[in-house]
Amino acid sequence: MEGDVVQMGAYIGAGLACTGMGGAAVGVGHVVGNFLSGALRNPSAAGGQTATMFIGIAFSEALGIFSFLVALLLMFAV
């Protein structure tokens, strides 16, 4: 019975951890949206900045991946 409670807690925690992915989604959307609005104002400078955009995406996405990792750890490692 006690083990069941622990497992229930782990599963609920895994589900809650997934809300962090929403934050990553907002972050990535913010980066790309701002890049696009900047790129439409000055299209000639946009080409040189795509690498910077991808770096920004990668950094904000990392935090979403961390929450995914926490969910996986709760599911399989705890």
């Binding site: 690498a51 770096i55 990668a58």
Partner: protein
Amino acid sequence: MAEETEEGGLVFHPMDQFIVKPLFGDGPINWYTPTNVTFWMALAILCVVALLVLGTRGRAVVPNRIQSIAELAYGFVYKMVEDVAGKDGLKYFPYIMTLFMFIVFSNFLGLLPLSFTTTSHIAVTAVMAMAVFITVTVIGFVKNGAGFLSLFWISSAPLVLRPILALIEVISYFVRPVSHSIRLAGNMMAGHAVIKVFAAFAAVVAIAPLSILAITAIYALEVLVSFIQAYVFAILTCVYLKDALHPHH
């Protein structure tokens, strides 16, 4: 692991595809046992060799298809290293090219049905990320000596803030290999698990057409993600390399 449910729901577990199995027989897995990981990694390396060595063997002035793909890949990575890490980063171009080609082929081979994605395992990506981390740290100290530590001491910030910023910078420096490896493994694992979840829904007659459409769409997305993640891994290596070569902000 595969279990039939009564409503005909999930007939296989979406994480089953990531199990490491011995290639021959069912014996225990030791470090020398050839497993499916070994097989698909070897295949990825074979593909890279086939593309880059056999593809450019002809050295035609007007390249054929395979040679132009090899030249495009080379030029793409070369330009990326030059743009991000600078001219003096080009010395480390072979390393980044190796990483990029290996990851891109591991990711693409993992998209074949019934295949195994080696880069979906954190053990594989962690080795690559730790190698990058150690290499970059050693390069930083060899090139700049103790000056490399100025990476953590931001001289443009107000003096009061500098210790706090230094603490944050040190933490973010040591989190780098973690995020570097988990980003790739997590993206690959999550994408493939989503495909498998929708594939399991295809067994339910009522939503089968919808789920097959969804698989097609997600597969297309995964092809894109496979490339972008290899690109991101390589470009972040370039960024870290730039930090090591020029630690002054």
